[in-house]
């Protein structure tokens, strides 16, 4: 009846975080690329703007005349090119197809240059990449229209530097965005999964007997889960009810005839005259007790194991419970002239344990002590508090634990080598040990000084 831990096929939260991070990374990358593109375009546009203005500036200063074309390059036209960065400047002025000044090998565009609206192109020149602005205009020379072409070019070092800086900024921006998005996605994942984890906590806090349907306000996505959960709970409750009924019925149907047999055997014993009959009747009664006891302890053990998984730990005054139980045992003990001594602390001893588990352990201990004590002996039950632990000791003057290690006594169906004449199943100490384990306690059994056995059960407070 142990709870199998559910196997995880991954964490929703991790998956959510990973997916959000992937989205964030994509967005960051996109942001980086778009900022970079926009920046590069802006830088290009800026360079083209200045280049174009300077080109037009030069073109506008061209004059026609009777002698030919008069060319005046405005100082500012070149000077302004130095405004953005320290790029190299090249130019070429053509009248018709003849280069009149500037760099004669500066490549022409592969389209025809017309008009004062500058057009731009990029060419390699002298081992560098050039951005060239080109305009053309007509001037009147000696009464005839002559076309003059102005090419003004600049290397792109400054532009590339600025682009690089922009790219770095864009990368930083993207990175920053990603970091912020990553942090936000953690929070998002947590808040999205909060209803789920609070539901899990609420279910985890339930006691073992709490099989009420789950009635919580949950996000709509969880409603099917709640429905399924409630269906499962109701089936479980029905199954448990059936099981409980079955056990009860079974116990009833086994124990009632046993009780009948025992009662009739006792009657027969009372009426029997000869020793042989009496002996066999006693054996019969003992066998009945034996099987009833075994059945009982098996059931108890099953219950203990079952409850170990679903303990209803609640603060319990174990001193009061112990007193109550010892009192309940007193008639049985008295029957054999065994004195049950109980020593309790003055104060209540509060311990968070499952009451049924605790009682079942204590009952088995006292039962053993009483059972294995000879008539007229005493059994000492004491509860003390020391070193933040509650120590419960049940000591008898019985026959002791005999040969073999104490630990083997707590194995299932293992009985001491010296107790074959006493009714027992060998499950009692196993139950005690299991209860101790389940409750975080410790169980020890050792020979008592001066004869007998000393069983001690301790729990952390």
């Amino acid at each position: 009846m142990s709870t199998r831990r559910a196997s995880a096929t991954g964490s929703i939260r991790r998956r959510l975080v990973v997916q959000l991070l992937v989205v964030a990374a994509l967005l960051s990358g996109l942001l980086y690329l778009s900022v970079r593109t926009v920046a590069a375009t802006a830088v290009d546009t800026t360079q083209d703007g200045i280049l174009g203005a300077a080109t037009v500036f030069i073109a506008e200063e061209l004059r026609g005349g009777e002698q030919g074309v008069s060319i005046e390059i405005p100082y500012a036209a070149f000077s302004m090119l130095g405004a953005v960065g320290q790029d190299r400047v090249f130019y070429r002025i053509l009248v018709g197809a003849d280069t009149v000044t500037g760099y004669g090998d500066l490549p022409l565009p592969d389209w025809v240059v017309t008009g004062l609206e500058p057009r731009f192109y990029t060419v390699p020149y002298q081992g560098a990449e050039l951005r060239v602005g080109a305009v053309a205009r007509s001037v009147l020379v000696d009464g005839a229209q002559v076309s003059v072409t102005v090419l003004l070019a600049q290397t792109r070092t400054a532009q590339q530097t600025i682009s690089r800086q922009m790219a770095n900024r864009a990368a930083l921006l993207g990175l920053g965005f990603f970091v912020v998005a990553a942090i936000l996605s953690m929070f998002t994942a947590r808040s999205v999964l909060r209803p789920l984890s609070s539901l899990a906590q609420a279910l985890g806090r339930r006691g073992p007997q709490d099989l009420r349907p789950v009635d919580r306000a949950v996000p709509s996505e969880l409603i099917p889960l709640i429905g399924a959960l409630n269906g499962l709970i109701s089936r479980l409750r029905a199954a448990l009810d059936r099981t409980e009924t079955f056990i009860t019925e079974a116990a009833h149907h086994v124990r009632t005839p046993l009780a009948t047999v025992r009662a009739q055997a006792e009657i027969a014993l009372r009426q029997a005259g000869d020793d042989d009959t009496r002996t066999s009747l006693r054996n019969l009664i003992r066998a009945v007790d034996n099987s009833a006891r075994s059945a009982g302890q098996l059931l108890d053990h099953a219950t203990v194991v079952y409850r170990s998984d679903q303990r209803a730990d609640a603060p319990l005054d174990i001193a009061a419970v112990l007193a109550d139980m010892v009192e309940g045992y007193r008639p049985t003990a008295t029957l054999r002239d065994i004195d049950l001594h109980l020593a309790l602390p003055d104060q209540p001893v509060q311990l968070a344990v499952d009451r049924l588990l605790f009682e079942s352990a204590v009952r088995n201990l006292i039962d053993n002590a009483v059972k294995y004590s000879s008539p007229d002996a005493a059994v000492d039950v004491s509860l003390t508090v020391a070193a933040a632990r509650a120590h419960l000791v049940v000591a008898d003057r019985g026959r002791g634990i005999g040969q073999g290690a104490a630990s083997t006594l707590t194995r299932r169906f293992t009985r001491g080598s010296n107790v074959s004449d006493v009714v027992g199943s060998g499950l009692g100490l196993t139950i005690v040990r299991d209860v101790a384990r389940a409750s975080g306690g410790q169980f020890d059994i050792s020979p008592r000084e001066g004869g007998g056995t000393c069983a001690s059960l301790s729990f952390p407070l």
Partner: protein, 341 residues
Amino acid sequence: MRFTILSALAALWLSAPAAAFEIEEETIFGDGPVLISVLSTTDTGVFAPLIAAYQAQNPDVSVRYVVANSQEVYRAIHDEAAAFDLVISSAMDLQMKLANDGFGRAHDSDAVAALPRWARWRDQLFAVTQEPVVMVASRAGFDGLGLPQTRAELVQVLRDHPERFAGRVGTYDPVRSGAGYLFATQDARQSDTSWRLAEVMGRLDPQLYTASSDMITAIQNGELALAYNVVGPYAQARLAGDPDAVVILPEDFTHVLLRTALIPTSGEAPDLGRQFLDFLLSEAGQQLLSEAAGLPRISAADLADGPALRPIRLDPGLLVFVDPIMRRRFLDEWTAAVVQP
């Protein structure tokens, strides 16, 4: 064809002239096994202390120091790919042109990284000194007149006393001197006053020179009452004890020439060039330049002290007046203004 002249000019400029560049002076310092060749516009005497200090640190290096005028320096590298490991020139526009057109090697070191942004262009052109461009006036020449502190005042005083200054003002000849061309074009770019000044001077039959030192000599021997656009540190060094000559930093604006260094691609020992450059920019080198050579070190603080001081910017604008058409145009206009028939 109508464009023949222009096209011919362009062709002339674009094609490499065959003639070798003209050397003024060539000196070899030391007899170390390793040789570094330095091409410079700066007189050997001025640079000797630096070379000595450099060789003290690097005893196995012998230094070949070649002096030429700035246009020849430019031609040597641009047209002839002469094997020099370091080129130091006061012609910022030509140095800029060399760097822009890919004749410089990249250099990166702690020394160049420490330079102010305005004192370098890319990783190729580095300023080693900053030299204000000044006017030098003779007190005797201006006797009874206030010394002009701005170009406008100068225009005024020259215009008001043509008889007194006729033949007694001097300036660089931009046609023959690279530095003179740079100063003149920067003047023209900077203000209209400079054109007025050119016209006024033109009426006074100005004397034209190719070197600052000649103008200073002319002031000292009384030939000139005023020399315009003289390289300041030379004047200050030469006129330190002269009670008559006055160095004037124009208050409207004073150009600051940056003497720049470039490691040409044509050099055979570029690493030595880098080493020498780093030495020039080092604390020891800069101090020597200031104190022994009389060439002010690169200092943003010094510039901040003179509000009118404006370093000529190392930017592509400098390329404009290197353009042959632009040069031709400018010189035509300047000649028309100054050299009046």
